[in-house]
Amino acid sequence: MTTAPEPGRMDTSNAIKGRSLLDDARRRLAQNRAASVAAAILVLLVFIALIGPFLVPFGYDQVNKSDVLSAPFTHGHLLGADDLGRDLLARTLVGLRVSIAVGVVASLVALLIGVAYGAVAGYVGGRVDELMMRLVDVLYALPFIFFVIVLMVTFGRNLILLFLAIGAVEWLTMARIVRGQTLSLKRKEFIEAARAAGLSTPAILLRHIAPNLVGPVIVYVTLTIPTVILAESFLSFLGLGVQEPLTSLGTLVSEGANQMELAPWTLVVPAVAMAVLLSAFNFLGDGLRDAIDPKDR
């Protein structure tokens, strides 16, 4: 059924709506149940991490001398208290906040360095590419943990520096992936067209290459965050994590592991929080990967 077109105007009412790649991806993601649930959980976790500490009646660093190692549901502590009588729920929420922050920021640092480095290397190619990748190989050959320890030890146990240290180590794989993607993108026709049109290299990199990297990069970042959080928890185990009284999930877990028999909740609560957080990132990352390029698994 058609209506008579008005003169001078195109009738778009029944035109077939085109689907962009983004729509495709979003649709596929929504269909992936596990990923959708994971995304929802993540949003929830971020929300309670941000707001939660304001709602809990105890401060995360508030020492309650008479509540030392109280079990859950005693003395007004919903999830119990630690060895200084500090409320475990409050501390877990703050730990969640710190772990998410470390994970996201460090991954973003890795992203920024890795994308810039990899895109430049892949696009410029030739000698420059070889040299840059050689450097990556050298850095890869250094044991990660030793590197981080030296950085932590030289610059102190500042939270910001923790982000930077971990990010400075994780960018390598990102660089490799981005370089690989750039290499294959470089040969595509639209890049040739842009070059023919006279665009400068930085412009091409920024306006054509970068947007096409978004997919794999997002996926990789989502999957790097859990690795970063685990790396931070390893540093806490070594005694190099965040400074007291601030805490992270890793610190809480390693302290709890030492009190497992006496006060199991000090281990169980942060460990469950960590497991849920990391699993959510993993499922979301998998879902994103499937959604963005279902063939490219």
Partner: protein, 549 residues
């Protein structure tokens, strides 16, 4: 589908086969090292591997623990930690207290060569030799010429240690020191066999070359795994030694070591984690194995008096008052430590520990109020809050610092916490790169002076609080020349009271040793010097164990 079930079947079979293979040789799962039949073995943990077994190059209890089974010095301790004859059967000092003479017993090195006074002369010279680069050479600077030798300004033979004859050692000091025989139990002056060291140099300590004059010989040492010692038949009291073999396992993770102790893998686990004491003492756990006697060490707080707020004594006292030592020792560390207000630990030989100040018995809220008053008198209050950084090394429980921080916050003082690695911490403090710090001081020998010496104005770097009081220095010098132990103690106690009132350093609590000892072990006596050589130990079921093998 058939594909999948074959695969999963294969995996299942593989796993079962693995389990069977492993449990096939299954006696009740033991991680305990097998002991040859007819012998009695002792398995002990150590904090870590010793850095070395060469006495002058040792510095920590990690090394002292093992060395006390291999070598005996001029003086020794009995099972209760009391001073007793060692290689020297008797000793005496001249009337001015400067010249000490030691008469040696007849004893042999494990290769049959007699132990002579020459070995001791050689040992002391080697300690002070700058080429040996001993960390602890300074401890014996009280020997005449030691400092000059160690600085390279004098030849080795100018050291005040001589062999009057093969069985007499004479040591000349720079000032009287009634505690000198005490000092000679230190691991750094355990004798080394001159004939072996001259032959092999620093590598004389390798198993196979190591020659000992003590109850055990060095059989093997695998780094990270274990050190194995075996009975020395030529030890002068070999017949009294019960265990045939001692093994030391470095155990960097204290909780794992404790679990293995419970499983029977170890007879002795030293330095278990303090906050586990409460759990281990539960009736359903291993209460009889837990030993936490006080030790000759303190945890204390020190202030950098160059940092403006801390130049005011009232501020320092206020912070001391508002630290809840009782909560920390009873609820937090809970291993048996006691709050302390004097720097010299209770139980130190020839000394009465300082009494707590009056305010120590006030209820805590009253102390907080009083602290607030002191702070406002010094100019700190809600409009001008006191802010500073509290540093502590990675050996101190962060919860202790966090508890102090919380208490201070309740009186409007804002402390930020900085935990540092020991390397960096002990580098920062001497150059005064800190504002306030929590540190530990462990005695080098059983006498009040090893603590009080720190506060002398001439001490330099390690006088972290920069305590500078000529009256204090004079009292210490006077004590050095006082031959009567009781009078000397009184002088030192007066000095301590002076220093503590000034609060440049503020003792927090005394430390305790933390050992898990299998209740079937006999001969273990808790003592303040934490001295437990294995030659005094045996088992109540020794005969049965030997027979079973």
């Amino acid at each position: 589908m058939g594909r999948i079930s074959t695969l999963s079947r294969a995996v299942a079979v593989g796993v079962c086969a693995g389990i069977l293979a492993v449990t096939a040789g299954c006696h009740k799962a033991g991680g305990r090292a097998p002991c040859p039949s007819g012998k009695l073995c002792f398995e002990a943990t150590n904090d870590a591997d010793p850095a070395t077994l060469d006495p002058p190059r040792t510095s920590l209890t990690i090394e002292a623990n093992v060395l006390s089974d291999l070598l005996i010095g001029l003086t020794d301790r009995d099972a209760a930690g009391r001073l007793s004859p060692g290689m020297a059967q008797s000793w005496s000092a001249s009337s001015d207290g400067i010249v000490w003479t030691f008469k040696l017993r007849k004893a042999l090195w494990s290769d049959g060569v007699p132990v002579t006074a020459d070995d001791f002369v050689y040992t002391f010279r080697r300690l002070e030799d700058p080429k040996t680069a001993s960390d602890y050479a300074y401890l014996f600077y009280l020997i005449k010429g030691a400092e000059a030798v160690n600085s390279g300004r004098a030849p080795l033979d100018s050291l005040g240690v001589r062999a009057l004859d093969p069985h007499t050692v004479q040591i000349t000091l720079t000032h009287p020191a009634p505690y000198f025989p005490e000092m000679l139990t230190h691991n750094v002056v355990l004798p080394v066999p001159r004939h072996v060291v001259e032959r092999y140099g620093d590598s004389w300590v390798q198993p196979g070359r190591f020659v000992a004059n003590g109850p055990y010989l060095l059989k093997s040492w695998t780094l990270g795994d274990r050190i194995v010692l075996e009975k020395n038949p030529l030890f002068y009291e070999a017949q009294k030694v019960c265990f045939d073999r001692i093994s030391y396992y470095p155990a960097p993770d204290p909780v794992s070591a404790e679990r293995r102790f419970k499983a029977g893998d170890f007879d002795l686990d030293i330095d278990f984690l303090a906050r586990r004491a409460r759990y281990l003492r539960r009736p359903d756990q291993i209460p009889k194995a837990v030993h936490t006697p006080p030790e000759l060490a303190d945890t204390y707080m020190t202030f950098n008096t160059h940092f403006a707020p801390f130049s005011d004594q009232r501020v320092r006292v206020a912070l001391s008052m508002s630290t809840d030592r009782d909560f920390i020792t009873k609820a937090l560390t809970a291993a048996g430590e006691k709050p302390t207000y004097g720097f010299v630990p209770a139980g130190t030989a020839n000394y009465d520990a300082m009494k707590a100040p009056v305010w120590a018995s006030w209820p805590f809220p009253r102390r907080l109020a009083e602290a607030r008053k002191l702070l406002s008198a010094a100019g700190y209050g809600p409009t001008h809050p006191l802010r500073f950084e509290l540093k502590y090394p990675n050996g101190i429980d962060p919860a202790v610092a966090a508890a102090m921080q919380a208490d201070w916050r309740s009186i409007g003082v804002f402390a930020s916490l900085v935990a540092e690695e020991p390397q960096i911490f002990y580098q920062d403090l001497p150059v005064r790169d800190f504002q306030a710090a929590i540190a530990i001081w462990v005695a080098d020998y059983d006498d009040a002076l090893t603590f009080l010496n720190l506060l002398q104005s001439g001490t330099g770097g390690q006088n972290y609080g920069d305590y500078n009081n000529p009256e204090y220095d004079a009292l210490l010098a006077q004590a050095d020349h006082e031959p009567d132990a009781g009078k000397r103690a009184a002088i030192l106690e007066r000095a301590e009271a002076l220093a503590m009132a000034s609060a440049n350093i503020v003792p927090l609590f005394g430390r305790v040793s933390r050992d898990l000892v299998d209740p079937r072990i006999t001969g273990w006596v808790d003592n303040i010097t934490a001295f437990h050589p294995k030659r005094y130990l045996c088992r109540s079921d020794a005969a049965a164990r030997r027979a079973a093998g």
